[in-house]
């Protein structure tokens, strides 16, 4: 059924929810019964409803045991076995870990760390991202794979490398870095001008003097640190694109991607996204993360290619072994998290991994088929039950997507700038600050896109940019235009501090946002850990009132047109603005001069929701998440994150896709329960 229903081409069209996981059959070839194990694997896959497996991701050594010796036969066999069962392969290019022989033959493949020490062979992603030997040999393998399997009926999708992230500081990287800087700055004196190297006599007088940052060398130039992060992202991308070019050449009909994870600090996913035919995500929230954390990442992935579905490519069915603490997922949690991904635009539910490894670092990482080796386990039963359930989803549902009128602005350069260790506070956590605002919107079931400052804003009623410290002239102008034309913009303390080269904005903070916000931030007061101030709402209304704690930082703001809607309650700046509002053009701009506590941010979002008429897809009790996917049809995803059943009142009759039951007015969701509701009269 599956095979014939899939439409080939560089864009994936989904005949059903893709369901499956990472499959590493080569691990079992050391067992004398390996053929039976493979047979058992496909039998159990059928039983679990699997239709897609990620294959060959770490198979380089198995495919090429020596530089001049290739062994594709086992992969032929397993692809054939899968194909017989109409199971698709998301086929790895196998370049995430080079074989031992390669590291020995080409020792400069191994990365060098900040202190100049070359690493030794072992583990994975353990290579220099600019190394030519690595690229040549990797690309050679990729071409062979592509040519061999170009027409294989099991081949659905290329999976390039895995969870990119190598970093290196070797001489070759230093040389490439200089070229990258020449592209960016042109002449050396422009580099000196942008990095302000005159401080501490750091002026470069020849390009050869420019070196990567180092904990035992140059670590006093934030601009160098940030540019090197950027460079590393670009070099990894260049390596990725080298493989992609071959795949697009040989198999233009097969989509290509690599899986995102983390978030990874030195891989700028915004710049990578355009080179992905489909976005995929490895989801590993900590056991005690609130459910908005997974939602944040799901929305992030969804936003990278808006209106296109994405793939949940990895999650654990039970537990991992590499977090600091690794308790089991409680019964129902895996199912709920899986539907949460669908609710946020994923069209797949996949796991790492199919069969639990017998050794190695991740041997205790959860799997669908555990060490016991059979299906009589809670985990297998839960996976199989979900697999069966997912088959109930109608295909039209897979041609829908989420729409958001609110955007949260994020950028990797901001991340690098905010958390560079020379800022006035050691307590910055950029992602946590984004999530602090995201969480308040999520609680209100207001859909949010996560966008880069370089994306168009005109689709949004509200744009929120916390800790927007690095702002270019152009970005500032775009925001100004957006507000002038009626948009609502909110930003916070430590924004508009530096330009794109990390030079302080002169003339008054927040630099290019100052006119739009109608304020001048004269001083800032980073608070010691544990110290708080208070924030009093002014001009109280039904939607804006109260007193809240705030922490981390307080700006001393001079009003330049804006008015204070909240003031500080303590310290020598008591009574000075804590939150300002400015009507500018047709729009309005808010500045939050501190870090309000959760209740404070919630109050702010309540006020903005009311002002802008932002609504949730359905009215639900707190703790119940609801999203709306639309396109070929409209569907509401209801997710009860609470341990008690919850009743939701519907405004129109709806049918639950999972039960086919029609609810006229009220639906009761059990604890951790899920419903996918379709209006009966749509």
């Amino acid at each position: 059924m599956m095979y014939q229903s899939v439409q080939r081409g560089s864009k994936l069209k989904f005949p059903a929810v893709f369901y499956g996981g990472d499959y590493n059959p080569e691990q079992w070839m050391v067992d004398k019964n390996w053929r039976e194990i493979w047979q058992e694997d496909v039998r159990l896959m059928r039983k679990a409803g699997v239709n897609l497996v990620s294959l060959g991701i770490f198979s380089w050594a198995a495919l090429q045991p020596a530089e001049d010796h290739f062994t594709f036969e086992w992969l032929d066999d397993i692809l054939e076995l899968l194909a017989e069962q109409q199971i698709f392969a998301c086929l790895g290019t196998a370049t995430a870990a080079q074989p031992a022989w390669l590291s020995v033959a080409y020792p400069d493949v191994l990365p060098v760390d900040e202190t100049g020490v070359r690493h030794k062979p072992g583990v994975r992603l353990n290579y220099c991202p600019t190394n030519e030997h690595f690229r040549r040999l990797g690309q050679d393998l990729v071409r062979r794979l592509a040519e061999r399997y170009r027409d294989h009926r099991a081949l659905l999708l290329w999976h390039v490398s895995n969870e990119y992230g190598p970093a290196c500081y070797c001489d070759h990287c230093a040389m490439r870095f200089r070229g990258w800087l020449q592209q960016r700055y042109g002449r050396l004196d422009e580099l000196n001008r942008h990095w302000i190297t005159s401080i501490w006599s750091r002026t470069y007088t020849a390009w050869e003097q420019v070196q990567p940052p180092s904990s035992i060398g140059e670590h006093s130039l934030p601009a160098l640190q940030i540019d090197y992060q950027h460079f590393l992202s670009d070099m990894n991308l260049e390596g990725y694109l080298g493989e992609v070019a071959i795949l697009r050449d040989v198999t233009p009909h097969v989509p290509v991607m690599t899986n995102f994870h983390g978030l990874t600090r030195h891989i700028d996913y915004f710049s990578w996204a355009q080179h992905q035919d489909i976005i995929s995500w490895d989801s590993y929230p900590r056991y005690n993360a609130t459910p908005d954390v997974a939602a944040f990442h799901y929305d992030f992935m969804r936003s990278l290619k808006q209106k296109q579905p994405w793939l949940l490519l990895e999650q654990t069915p039970s537990q991992v072994q590499w977090h600091q603490e690794n308790p089991l997922k409680r019964p129902g949690v895996m199912r709920l998290q899986s539907y949460q991904a669908l609710a946020h635009g994923s069209n797949s539910v996949m796991f790492f991994q199919w069969r639990q490894a017998r050794g190695g670092r991740e041997m205790y990482h959860g799997a669908i088929v555990g060490h016991a080796g059979h299906e009589q386990t809670r985990i297998f039963q839960e996976v199989a039950a979900l697999g069966a359930e997912l088959k109930l989803l109608e295909p039209a549902l897979l041609e829908t997507h989420m729409q958001a009128r609110v955007a949260l602005m994020m950028s990797w350069p901001n991340w690098w700038a905010v958390e560079n260790r020379h800022t006035p506070s050691r307590h910055f956590n950029y992602i946590a600050e984004l999530q602090h605002y995201y969480r308040a919107l999520w609680k209100r079931n207001i859909a949010v896109d996560i966008i880069s400052p370089d994306q168009p804003l005109d689709n949004y009623q509200l744009v929120i940019a916390p800790l927007f410290t690095m702002v270019s002239e152009e970005q500032g102008a775009a925001i100004e235009q957006y507000v002038k034309e009626g948009g609502t913009f909110l930003t916070t303390y430590f924004s508009g501090m530096v330009d794109e080269s990390h030079r302080a904005w002169l003339g008054g903070f927040p630099g290019p946002l100052r006119r739009t916000l109608g304020i001048w931030v004269e001083e800032f007061d980073p608070l010691p850990a544990g110290k708080t101030n208070t924030l009093f709402c002014l001009q109280e209304t039904d939607d804006w009132s109260g007193t809240y704690n705030c922490e981390h930082w307080c700006d001393i703001v001079q009003l330049e047109g804006a008015q204070a809607i909240a003031i500080f309650g303590q310290d020598f700046y008591a009574g000075r603005p804590a939150i300002t509002e400015y009507h500018y053009g047709l729009g309005q701009a808010f500045y939050v001069a501190t870090r309000p506590d959760a209740a404070g941010v919630d109050a702010l979002m309540k006020m903005l929701q009311s002002r802008l008429g932002l609504t949730a897809p359905l009215q639900v009790p707190r703790g119940v998440e609801v999203t709306r996917r639309e396109g070929k049809m409209v569907a509401y995803f209801l997710l009860n994150h609470l341990q008690e059943a919850q009743c939701i009142t519907l405004s129109e009759p709806m049918r639950d896709v999972l039960t086919q039951y029609i609810y006229e007015q009220v639906i009761q969701l059990p604890a951790l329960g899920v419903a996918i509701l379709i209006p009966v009269y749509q």
Copy 2:
């Protein structure tokens, strides 16, 4: 008196409790009055009752100031001085620290760390354990020492090196490691098969690719890490045996040993014990350790050569300077700890060190003769008083040993496996877990042997194997046989997980223990720090009742014949087995699926004590320790660890060796008091 009473031969026969300490007279040869200091030393030794000193342990530089120049004369002198006073020497082979000239002449003697950095000269034990130059030069010195002093009347015992433990990752070690692996696994594909190198493309295709583990290289293969620990233990042992062979050749009548300490994580004392003519131990419990901690280590040392006495070779009379916190031993504590060693089978009480050093790292480490240099100190007086008291012990007492019917199973490979950092929990502490069970038995004054899983079990009524994670087929079979024949076996969570090559047991945990235990561990839930569950006893009796907290880990157990005798009280596995019991053959097997708190383990031990009729040597109040030594005679050691006097009722009249007083019915032990009781009518 002493000299004539000692029976020469490779087994030591004790004419009296050996009493003394480390003596480093060469430290004082830089003083112009050194001859007077030496004279004063022996005068004070006589006064303190010293009959044995450890000599020459760090004297390499003093004995061989250049490769071709030896200076034994001072050692001749001091040995003569000691002999005149009938004081024995435990003579060091002086190889625990090489001289500076040696490190300069042979720089590859210095060890290389995991990151490839060769260490610099200095400190002690700072050599590569496989280095040929070190061995050649060390053995040359050992032969000269042995030949020079073979017939010296002061020579009692050889003390090889000191507190072994060097680790190295140099190319020579890598080469030796490959040879070690070839011994263990034969062909390279067997190595690949056992280490499961197919994961992450780690397959080796040539032996040269195999390298030691490294924090900047291969750190993803637990099996490699564990094998390397094993290899390091073996290489150190090989170095030790190189010296031993010479000593046995030249002085076959003189026993040979090295001192154990720590416990040292990468020295497997079980495999070393067979090469010791007598076991010796350096005892340094932390100031706030409960008294069972010293007892645990004493019993450990005692168990390494059962029925043979061992030597307490080092302890501080007052304080050390190298713990995080170094308060004084309170008056009476040193005496109590000394008798505790005798109570657990030691036939010596020795100290580090005789005369306090004037410089160096340990200059503030306590000593019998402090920097003041005279005997008018509390410490000297306490030592001298104990020395006088120990002379009261009759010789027959030294030909006794402890008997235990309970064994605690421990193995170094288990230690390495349990604490390897890729397990699902970061909170494993193998030794602490063993001590958790030991403590409950100790409180009940039940004698315990600490044994390896490869030792015979038939002498024991009860075998306890906490965190027995690495179990071979053979070990599993031996335990099964033991239970079938009537033994009682108890093990805990995270047992039976991997085979001897650290491959997960397939088919169901706890692998080869599963049939014996009558259970299947389907899942495990590592608890975050601070989270607890509850354990409810079922089938309550007088000896088994109550509710206890448990923490760290909960297994989800399926019963396969066993029955639950306690269940969990919380979480989704509330009501599922927490402790199981299985009658198998003539015996019984218990499984503890979590870490009960101290009260919980105590309840378990109470139940087992009652079931198996395990008894304490005498009935004593809690806080009083009692052991029984038997052989040539029977003696009871009573140790009051409390700050208040305690009364003990005797079932028969006994004589206290220390006071010669005969107690008919009741003996009162003062705070920190000791008695050695001998039945009057034995």
Copy 3:
């Protein structure tokens, strides 16, 4: 006005309080409007009352862009611009950070760390302090600067390098270290004898074997560690003196100094002070430091050249960015801290820095002219107001100094010895212990000098030497003489432990202080963190009574003439002496065998104050600081560190220099207020 009033010559004579800050005009030459920025700088300097700037401190790259190319023109220009406005320059020798070309051309300029890794170019103070290339090139630049500006009317003072402190462990340093040791010890066997290398076989048999200490090599010899610290201080001093010699040669009329900061652990300021024409200090107390901390450092700097004024060379007007937490200075705090420096003998108030940097590590460090670039800021206004106020101070005030009858003894070797990690306690903090005693005196407004043990004592009524662990025979004798002749001496636990080579004093602690103190410290008991004992005063009087907590350490003291004036309340040494007093010759000596809490030290100081008749300059409420400067005139500085106004009763009419108001009897100081009072009838 300024220029003509300054008296040239190697000793600075102050026509007014020097006021200004670090000025780095070369940072702005990358800006196209740099000439306007410079013009604006001098305009604003005039407005702020600036009369002195520190110039060129990090200008090496700007002055010498290539080894054979010098560019002094910009410095000519800015000096001219300053001179036009009668602003002086404290001219840097620019050698605190070498240019990039230098590190590339002479790679051995870069320092090597303890593990043998050579650092990479970047940051500042990143050079080997013994490197010949660095010295040659640095001195060449210094000579050119000196010759070019020798007669410039703006040149007031040479500022050599900046905040010295480089450390290195390279082969050249090792070679120089051996030479340094030969100077100190002569023959190698004397080195062995003093370092007690016989321990652990560390005896050196050739000088080449002696290496710097290393965390991966020799780290077991405290004497080596301490001597290496001493050597590093001397090598840095040698580098400093190389520059000084040139400056004294070319510009004998211009005073020379380098700025002190920290305190820096491996720069012995006592030995450096004699080579400074004036002492200068960079003051950066943490935001939550009590005001005595700044006072302690001010008094330290003042004491280095008694009766001579010193310079407060750097402080931040607002905040720094490099502390762990960097809140703003509250309004009034900068002014108060500035006057506090004057109160303790400074004749300047200067800031880092004039104009805030646009990039680099310290771009968020506070400045007088912030990123906004104009004077309409709180910070600028506060600075300008203070500048105006300081002009009110009459010149005679600058020819006064403080007098103290109490000395606190401090030495760098003691610091190294006390905090060497092989002591019996991990909780030693030498500087904190000094401040513990200083604070009690400061609260009583008793003036204190901080002196080295090698300075004359006869000027003092009371000498306090906490943690005086390293005492030479000569130092002990000097103290004995001092007490015999009527002095009062107080020392504490862990004193008199080692001689100047870190050999334990034999015969009884506290070694050479024992006779003077009339005690013998038989044992010491380092207390675990959190554990306390109690201290009971004996022979209670009005000035000596109460019970206090003590912590960290308790000595067990035997009285040898002294009597206990306080005893311990707990533990097995309850009732034993905790504080002793001994009348010896005409004087008296106190020993404090523990660390009393703040109240305990306060009680001790109260008793000593009463006994010795030590008085505060004026009677003031607690929290108000008062000092007295005398010389050409007498002035009282009153500083209210409290948040509430305080009234002070005067014994005679006084005029406040800052207001010219005459107070007959009572002056009210506002919160954070300051007054400089001059007796009307002086």
